[in-house]
Symmetry: C2
């Protein structure tokens, strides 16, 4: 289950992505629009910044903006920053591997094997879907975003079948 923190993070990032790469938005504005507690959101954005997803400016006309184009920010990275590894169990994780304390033989553990497949399936989606992809379904602004990404020579992944 996604934590509320992750959901706030995704919403904020999507809002910034819609806004466009250069434009600053202030925490208060995001908090208000997303109905998130402002102080809590501050912590979240700060963390995203520390991981290189956001750029910020302090002072009077300050705020946050994406640190890179929306088609280079993947859901997988966001979720991992906020909630940790995707895998249902640590022993099936690539990014956060940890041995099970009580597992006799990891190589043949049936649970691990199944959960590894689950992890891979999740990764297949989350590590290949960007903010831009997610927005590409609706609104002119979003489609423009993706088109300009295409111009820059980036692959658009998981584009909607009918679009």
């Amino acid at each position: 289950m996604l934590s509320r923190k992750t959901k706030y993070a995704l919403r904020a990032l999507l809002m910034l992505a819609e806004q466009g790469e250069g434009r600053m938005i202030q925490v208060s504005d995001i908090a208000e629009k997303q109905k998130a507690p402002k102080k809590f959101l501050e912590l979240i954005l700060l963390e995203l910044k520390k991981h290189g997803l956001l750029h910020s400016q302090r002072g009077k006309r300050g705020g946050y903006t994406l640190a890179k184009p929306a088609d280079e920010i993947y859901f997988g990275q966001i979720v991992r920053i906020m909630d940790g590894p995707l895998a249902p169990i640590p022993c099936a994780s690539l990014t956060g591997y940890r041995k099970c304390a009580d597992c006799a033989d990891e190589a043949t553990c049936p649970i691990r094997r199944v959960m590894r497949r689950v992890r891979d399936a999740m990764s297949e989606i989350l590590d290949k879907t960007t903010l831009a992809d997610a927005l590409a379904h609706h609104g002119r602004k979003a489609r423009r975003l993706v088109r300009s990404a295409a111009k820059r020579g980036r692959k658009i992944r998981n584009a909607p079948a009918g679009a």
Copy 2:
């Protein structure tokens, strides 16, 4: 993340599946072998029984056994009984749908759309993998289990590529 409870449940069920459909095993034995707290495991097995996955017998030579063949018990059902819906967020769940309190337009919510795909991918694995499937990779007993399932005319899903 899978709860410890679910992990205990899976281990217990797999152990019972290996044992064969008729054979009783006692809670104490499972607890000992899986290094799970006995009293805690009791609660878990009871819950699985209430959901029709286990059959039990009380009294002196009592214990637990699978209530149906190992190739009819799906990981998805087990996980849902223990941990609830598969979907990362309730609004993307089929079995446990709940509207987001703060979502303006669900139909176009980009987060929901992505998480729905994640849910589907998880379901594609967990709702198609049985205890028998999971065991089919190692050991004679396990393979025998699957073979006899095949004889009964059941599809073996997700059989290992090389087996």
